[in-house]
């Protein structure tokens, strides 16, 4: 029986040219957990996960290499290093018992891209209808939105750097769209 535990294959393999110099690039795999539950449970997430999820809409909280992104009033996306999903699930189970909540491993559901540089906003606005001015969309803001014909999670991690999450099967579209849009920078 072959051991295929190292046999991951990115959906962008063959599409993405690694080490490209453009405004966007592929980020390495991450652990992703979709947390849903009543607001009263969130405090205990902080203790086990190390990041206190924001109560304020559309805000991300970060600590070290972990982040909790507010996606809805009962929904947060927890991000951590690849391979940590199982242990986080176990730790949260202990910390949250006996409260009700939902935690689902969605590490493979999405792909993360980095959009960075002085033209990051322009590139995104080729397909994203939001106002990305730094006043309107400050560092730390995150939200589900659209990139042309696909849904994304958009998160401003720094003045000129965005992290986007796109569903796996839409990633090739998003990638090619950004390549096309980059010609207009």
């Amino acid at each position: 029986m072959p051991d295929l535990t190292q046999a991951r294959q990115s959906v962008l393999e063959g599409i993405e040219a690694s080490g490209r110099a453009g405004t966007f690039s592929l980020l390495p795999p991450l652990s992703r957990l979709n947390y849903r539950g009543r607001i009263s449970t969130v405090g205990r997430v902080a203790a086990a996960f190390g990041v206190e999820p924001a109560m304020e809409p559309c805000r991300a909280a970060i600590f070290g290499d972990r982040a909790a992104l507010w996606l809805g009033p009962d929904e947060w996306l927890l991000l951590a290093k690849e391979g940590e999903a199982r242990s986080i699930i176990d730790r949260l189970a202990i910390a949250l018992a006996p409260l009700s909540y939902s935690l689902v491993d969605v590490s493979h559901r999405q792909v993360a891209l980095k959009i960075a540089g002085p033209q990051a906003e322009l590139l995104l606005n080729a397909g994203c209808p939001l106002d990305l001015d730094r006043q309107a969309f400050p560092v730390g803001m995150c939200t589900r939105t659209l990139l042309q014909k696909t849904e994304i999670v958009l998160w401003r991690v720094a003045e000129t750097e965005f992290h986007i999450e796109v569903a796996r099967s839409f990633a090739p579209y998003a990638w090619r769209f950004l390549e096309q849009a980059e010609r207009d920078l």
Partner: protein, 100 residues
Amino acid sequence: MLLIDCPFCGKRPELEFRYGGEAHLARPADPADLGDKAWGQFLYGRSNPRGVHAERWRHVHGCGRFFNALRDTTNDRFAATYKIGEERPAIPEAEGAASA
């Protein structure tokens, strides 16, 4: 393209939303109690006003929440948006009146 004020996320473009039909049509607690006519009215009866319409939207490509809105069907202006479970707000006559 409409600009819709999500009660959670603020003003967002219509592209992020999905329309959800008329608001404040509560599902009967026990549908079996309703006669055929009353159930038919619940399923299909809609007010379809010319003027202010209470309707549901879902911020599907955003926070995912359903919410209610008062929109004037004659000019697409939103008088209010509010969370599910909140009372329909009273709106000033001038704003709510359908333009002739």
